[in-house]
Structures are given as C-alpha cells and as structure tokens.
C-alpha cells in the first residue's frame, strides 16, 4: 500500500532506463459515418503512427496546433480511449523493450516462436488494451490525468472532499476520518487547505480549480500524470503559480509528466524532451534546448517564428503559415507539411490534390493580384476526376476550352517551382487533362544524432 509521504527520487530526468510508457506505432482513427445506415465512408486519422518513450522522472512535452492529435494521443496514453492500431506499453523493462522492438521490426508471420511467446507475455503484462485485470489495476492507479478545463472536469454537485477523496474511496485506500485527513494533506500539498473541504467547484477561481484537479490526480500517488493543457484557461500570473506547483510536485513525488500544450513558451519551460505534432504525426522530437535552438523541421521553425515572445526582436516580423491545415481524413502524401511548407522541394510528395487546390487558388485570385483568366473555367467547368492513384489522375471538364486553359496553366511558369519539378507529365486530350506526379514514399522520423529526430527529407538524406 502506498503512503502519502512524498518520496524524493533525485532530480528529474536523471534516471536512465525505467520506462514508464512506451508507444509503438500508435494510431487512433475515428470513422466518418454517413447516411441513414451510418455507413463508414472514411477515417479521420487523428493520431497516425506515433512511437515515443517516456522515462521515469522526465517531462515529455507535446506541441502542435489544434487538431493535430495531441489531445487524442494523451487520451490514448491515459487509457481513456483505445488506439485503433499500435501498442502502448506500461512499465516495460529495458530488455523487454529491445526485444519488443526487434519483434515488431519483422512481419508477424515471420516471427520465431520465441518472439511470439514474448509478444504474448508483453501484451498480457504491459500493453494497455490487452493487459490482465491485475496489471490494469496497477496501471490505473499509476496513471492520472489533469484536464484543460477544470470547470467541466470537476463534478459541480460534489464537494471538494468528495472529488479529491473519490480515487481513495474507489481503491479502498481510506474511509471516514482517515479519508478526510488524507484529502486535507493532499489539498495542502497543492497550496490549499482544510477550509476548502466543504465547498463546491463553482466557489473557486480557475487557478484553484486546477489545483483541485491536481490534488485529485495525486491522490493515489501515481507515477505518471498526463497534463492536457493544464494552464491554457488561466491568466499568466496564475499560470505561473500552477507551473511552479507542478514542478515542485514533480521534484517531491518523483512524477513523470506528459505535458500537452499549444503554448511553446510553457512547453519549453516545463519539458525535458519535446515532440512536435502535425496532422497526427510527430515531425520532430528532441530535447527542449535542441528543439528551440536548432529546430530542423520547417513546421517547428514556423511555429517558433509565429510565437510571440516578450524578448523577441520587434524588427523581426512575426510570420504565420499560409493556407489551412489539410483534412486529416485525407492527409497529404509524402511529408504532410509540404502543402504549407516554405522550403518544399520536388521530393516532398506533391500530388494531384495539390495541383487542384493550387488551380482553385489561382482561379480565386488569391495567388495573383488580378483575378486569373481561369476563373471562368475552374472549378465550375470541372465535372469529374478519374483517380488512378494519389499521384496520377485525369480531370474531366465540361468543354475543351476549359481543359485547354487548365492544361496551359499547369504547364505555364506560374506554378511553384518544386511542384512543377515534381510534375512528370500533363496531357490535354479533348476535354480531359491528365496529370502525373512522381511517386514518393511516406516520410519517417530519422535520428540526426543525440536523440534529435526529424522527418524533414532535407535533413534525413532522402531529398
């Protein structure tokens, strides 16, 4: 039985080994349903193949824009939703982890019997969605979550004593006056006190509510806490209080954090290692210092450039990104960022959809100062698209003139050079335009050395 005495486990991040969470190829897809029969017509790939190790005592930060899948990943890691594919393993030993990686590297039907047995054992003991009831019980009490909005994550009809004491009651840790005392000591550890026991959540300010959430998460003395935007609803002065508190608790209780936030400044301050997510993928990963001092991936660089900073040079203009985040139900081929990337090269994965969206931007007069002559032909005259692959398709137009105009535009020099270079062929036939791009494979995270991973082909040597 765990006690409330905080155990000092040395400074954060110094303990090597000791994996708390191991993620391997985690995917979470949400079905898109349509019609009266709710037929599945597609999948939103919220999280699409993420591998990550979280070690004892460290803080791993996850940053990205809204809709990049960081919260979904947090929910998967905390067991609130079950991943569609891939495995999340809790407390793997280093030896098991190496063996697991070896086994996962080869296709399932080619694994040796020993490997199969090992996989079965790891699945039963460590993997979240297949683990035994006893293992799950241990996992449940060791993994807690603090949510973004402390108001909706605290039951408005329960007293603080019930909210913070609930985990203790569920795990039959304490009852009666002992429970009250445990709750008081929990409240004291987050800077609150006995006078707050018999109040409702609405009687507290945002910062205090977040403290109550943290106290509840600490109740069972967990190893690991998922912090999902814990301060984004708070003012800066209160945010600073909560961040200091979280750090203090990590030192005292030897906690491991997965810190999810969209605020780069906060993530930089709190994290030992940071993963940058874009459209369900990790695009860069490294220590906080490395990532901020020598960001490699253009997306990370764009995030940093757009991030306002009090010490920033005012002459350097804040830059945003062009365009919008692509649809996660139909993510771009190759590097997922290439549609908005300022330094894209021909090998980034240009495809037919890019050509079409570029054409409609041209027609909409967004790229040029004057409305383009295309406006008459595109997209109204486009009647059908015959798609052979993402890189090869035929656009069917209502009349030959429109097709000719589109063909001319595609072969003209207005097109971004890297997209034009990736274009293998355009042929106009009657009222049809065929477009073919060079096919490329999906990009993967590759190590640049020192645990700094990036998926940009400019650095991974495939460009």
């Amino acid at each position: 039985m765990t006690t409330l005495t905080p155990e000092a486990t040395g400074s954060a991040g110094s303990v090597a080994g000791n994996l708390v969470m191991t993620l391997r190829g985690v995917e979470k897809h949400f079905p898109i349903k349509e019609g009266a029969l709710q037929r599945v017509v597609g999948q939103v790939r919220a999280v699409d193949g993420i591998s990550l190790d979280i070690r004892r005592g460290e803080t791993v930060g996850l940053v990205g824009e809204s809709g990049c899948g960081k919260t979904t990943l947090g929910r998967c890691v905390s067991g609130l939703s079950r991943p569609t594919a891939g495995g999340i393993y809790f407390r793997l030993s280093d030896r098991d982890q190496i063996a697991l990686d070896e086994a996962l590297a080869i296709p399932e039907d080619q694994r040796t019997n020993e490997q199969k047995q090992l996989m079965a054992r790891i699945d039963a003991e460590h993997r979240l969605d297949t683990m035994s009831a006893a293992a799950r019980r241990i996992y449940r009490r060791n993994c807690q979550v603090v949510f973004q909005d402390a108001f909706s994550s605290l039951n408005p009809r329960h007293l603080v004593k019930d909210i913070v004491g609930r985990p203790l009651r569920v795990f039959k840790e304490a009852s009666g006056s002992e429970l009250t005392e445990r709750v008081v000591s929990l409240l004291e550890s987050v800077g609150m006190g006995r006078q707050h026991l018999y109040r409702y959540p609405h009687q507290f300010s945002g910062g205090q509510r977040q403290r109550i959430s943290i106290a509840r998460a600490l109740a069972l003395d967990p190893d690991f806490i998922v912090l999902d935007e814990p301060t984004s609803a708070l003012d800066v002065s209160v945010q600073a209080q909560i961040l200091n508190l979280l750090h203090e608790l990590q030192q005292q209780w030897g906690l491991t954090y997965l810190f999810i936030s969209h605020d780069l400044g906060v993530v930089r301050l709190m994290s030992d290692r940071i993963g940058v997510m874009y459209l369900g993928r990790l695009v860069e990963q490294g220590t906080a210092e490395e990532l901020f001092e020598s960001a490699r991936h253009p997306y990370t660089q764009a995030l940093l450039a757009a991030n306002p900073d009090l010490s920033a040079d005012l002459d350097v203009e804040m830059r945003g990104l062009e365009g919008t985040v692509p649809d996660p139900a139909n993510p771009p081929q190759g590097c997922r960022f290439h549609t908005r990337c300022p330094v894209a090269v021909p090998q980034c994965g240009w495809e037919v959809d890019d050509a079409v969206s570029w054409l409609s931007d041209m027609a909409g007069g967004l790229r040029g100062d004057v409305p383009h002559q295309l406006t008459a032909a595109f997209p109204d005259a486009l009647t059908a698209v015959e798609r052979r692959s993402d890189f090869d398709a035929t656009l069917v137009f209502a009349d030959e003139a429109s097709a000719g105009l589109v063909g001319e535009t595609l072969t003209g020099d207005g097109m971004p050079t890297s997209m034009a270079a990736a274009l293998e062929g355009v042929s106009v036939e009657d009222h049809k335009v065929s477009i073919r791009f060079t096919e490329v494979d999906e990009v993967t995270l590759e190590d640049l050395g020192g645990g700094h991973l990036t998926s940009c082909i400019l650095y991974t040597g495939r460009g």
Binding site: D263, P308, S311, G364
Partner: protein
C-alpha cells in the same frame, strides 16, 4: 484623474478619435455593487493603436463594450464618466464630439458597426450559425449603406425597393419583390449587395469570396471565420475598430496571419484600433501605446516601448515576469500570488495591495492617482510625492529599482 500627455512625435499630435474620461461601469450583484470599471481615462488618436492589457476580470472587455453600449443594463450600470467620440466627418466640419454614453439609441445604431466596429473574441460564437456568410456581411450594408444600394434619384425608386434596401420589408413585400414588376429591381439590389459583400471579403484575402458567401459558419475554419468577422467590421470603413482578443481562439500560425491582416488594413484605411488582449507579447508587437488595467483601473499607461522596457508599476512588472521565457528556470517563474480581487463596494485603496510584494499600510488607505513619471503614467504610491499626500516620506512603499 488625468491621462498623461502622450509624447510620440508623429501620432501624438494627431487629432483625437475617442477620449474616455473617468468611465465607471458597475454591476449589481448579490453582495452589492461590483465596480468592474472604476474611473478609467484614456485617449485614442487618429490612426494609432492603443492596447488595453490585463487579466480576466480586470474590466478591459467591459470598457470596450461600453463604447458601443453593449453592456446589458441591468445588471450593468453606467455609473459615470464620458466617452467622447469624433467621427471623421464631424471633425472635418468642426463639430463637437458626441458622448457615446448619452446619445439616443437611434444615433447609437447609426454609429455601431458604421463609425465604430468591433471584432469579438470567439468568431464561432459571434457569427450567426443559421445565416449564410453572405447574408451576415450583407446586413452591415443594409443597415448603414442603404442609400448607396438603391442608387438613382429618390423619385425613381419605388418605396418597396427602398424599404428592401433597409431590410424593412414585410414578408408579403419580400414575396412581391420576386414577382414582376419589381423583380428586376429586386435582383439588381441583391446584385449590388453581393458585389459589396464580395469586395469586403476579398479585402481580408479570402479566396473565392463568392463561393464563401453561400457557406455557413460551421463550414469554415477558425481563421476563416475571424476573417469574415474582420470583413464585417471593416465593411463600412470605421473610424475606430475595437478588437477584443481577436486571436485568442486561434492557433499561433493563424494568429500571426490575422494580426498581419489587421495591421495592413489599419494602415490602408487609417483606422484607429483599440486592441484588447491578455497577451503582453502581442500587445507589444501590435500597439503604439498601451494601458495596463487591473481590477477596473488603469495602473500604467504609456508608449509601448517605454512601458515594456521600463515598467514601473509592480503589477506590470509581475505580469511580465510571469510569462515563461527562454531565460527562466523551471519552478522559478515569478508568479503573482493570489487572485484578482472582486471589487464589490471597494474602499479607497490601491487595488493591487493584496498581491503586491511591496505593499505597506498606506496602500490600504490611499487610492493612488495616475502620475506622470518618466514618460508614462503610473498609479502607484511608490512614485507619489509624500508632501502632496500629507504623509511622512517613510510611510510610502519602496519598489525595487525606483528612486524618488
């Protein structure tokens, strides 16, 4: 209480657009009267951007909303003060300013959305989900530009079309407009409105404005919705634009684009902007002058450069130190302890004394005035003159790094 004289070379001499004097907006609550805005004074000059910063509940949004009389009364009470507004035309013809708190509702209607426009924080909530984008933006033109819509001399336009241009038609009249003999004019009116709407949307760099006009808010991304709101706000080329946390609901990469857009449009149209935000770094980027608010009062004001390089008020300093930055160590953020107090029937005191590291007894008894110190205004007793207050020098608080 007087606003300190501005001293920037170019924009300081520009004519005033708005002058707020001792504005007080209170709210009736169970416990008494909450002083949400309690004696706020500031000026906005032609073409300048004034930033209003502060934390939740400091009264910055209430201040902005009272410009357009959007504070609901009751429970709100306009307890005092004036908001003098000079429209461009009024200034040109040398007219007196109008007091936005006292003009009739009819006059307010003419100003709201036309001379003073507002961009709200959450575009998802501010746009009507049941109306297409085209119809929503068109409302501004129907409301304020009905004269231009009908065109021609007054006698040649049937009154039904005239009413349609003000959206003042009844349901049978709207049906009649679709039938001969008015069908042609009805269509022409619609065409002119659509042209104006498309033009307004194109201003904000929306691709394919005609296509967007048929869409509904839920079909657009957050950044797009905010662009629609900006198009709506700037449609009538207002003299003053109030931007109430325009990018809080957006991602950083989109935020940078929207701010760029606002700055660009402001420059082209010479609009004055009242920019409200809780984000100090954004205000530093966007604004010429800044006013820091705390618990219903302005505690520090001045040129952005002066306030950010040499903050005087302990609250401004605390706020700046609490923002995580590269140089800070984990666990050593300088937080301001405690919470923003609720100002229910306040007694005269410095409102920051409950959280101030430097507070002394005097701070609980005397309400500090905004003083003109080192090029900017600050309301802190540490900078006050003991002789003027009639107290001994030693009873004043001592704030680090200040010399009297």
């Amino acid at each position: 209480m007087t606003a300190p004289a501005a001293s920037a070379p170019s924009k300081a001499t520009a004519p005033l657009v708005v002058s707020v004097h001792d504005l007080r907006v209170h709210f009736k609550v169970k416990a008494g009267v909450a002083h949400a805005v309690d004696g706020v004074s500031f000026d906005v000059r032609d073409g300048e951007t004034l930033g209003l910063v502060g934390e939740t509940g400091c009264g910055k949004t209430v201040t902005a909303r009272s410009f357009l009389r959007l504070v609901k009364t009751p429970p709100g009470i306009y307890a005092g003060g004036r908001i003098d507004f000079w429209s461009r035309d009024a200034r040109r013809s040398g007219e007196e300013p109008v007091d936005l708190l006292r003009i009739s509702d009819r006059d307010m209607l003419a100003i709201r959305g036309d001379r003073i426009a507002m961009i709200f924080q959450d575009p998802a909530k501010a746009l009507n989900p049941a109306m297409s984008i085209g119809d929503q933006v068109a409302e501004v033109f129907y409301q304020h530009r009905s004269e231009d819509l009908v065109g021609g001399g007054p006698d040649r336009v049937p009154s039904i079309v005239r009413r349609a241009s003000r959206q003042a038609t009844t349901a049978p009249e709207r049906l009649a407009l679709r039938l001969p003999p008015w069908r042609r004019q009805g269509r022409a009116l619609r065409r002119r409105v659509d042209e104006l709407v498309a033009g307004a949307l194109a201003e904000t760099q929306i691709a394919n404005p005609r296509k967007i006009m048929g869409r509904y808010p839920h079909e657009l991304s957050g950044g797009m919705k905010q662009r629609v709101m900006i198009a709506q706000a700037l449609a009538c080329n207002p003299d003053l634009l109030i931007a109430d946390e325009p990018t809080t609901a957006l991602d950083v990469t989109i935020q940078a684009r929207i701010l760029e857009l606002i700055a660009d449009l402001q420059q082209r149209h010479g609009t004055s902007v009242l920019y409200i935000s809780h984000d100090l770094s954004l205000v530093r980027q966007m604004c010429d002058r800044v006013a820091v608010m705390y618990a219903g009062r302005i505690v520090e004001t001045g040129h952005t450069g002066a306030v950010f390089t040499d903050p005087l008020h302990p609250y401004t300093r605390g706020l700046m130190a609490a923002v995580p930055s590269a140089s800070q160590k984990r666990g050593e953020l300088l937080a301001i302890e405690g919470n923003v107090p609720e100002m229910v029937d306040p007694t005269p005191c410095c409102r920051f004394h409950t959280r101030c590291r430097f507070a002394v007894d005097l701070c609980r008894q005397i309400d500090p005035e905004l003083l003109d110190i080192r090029d900017h205004g600050v309301a802190c007793l540490a900078y006050a003159s003991a002789a003027r207050l009639g107290v001994p020098e030693t009873s004043l608080p001592l704030v680090e790094g200040t010399s009297r």
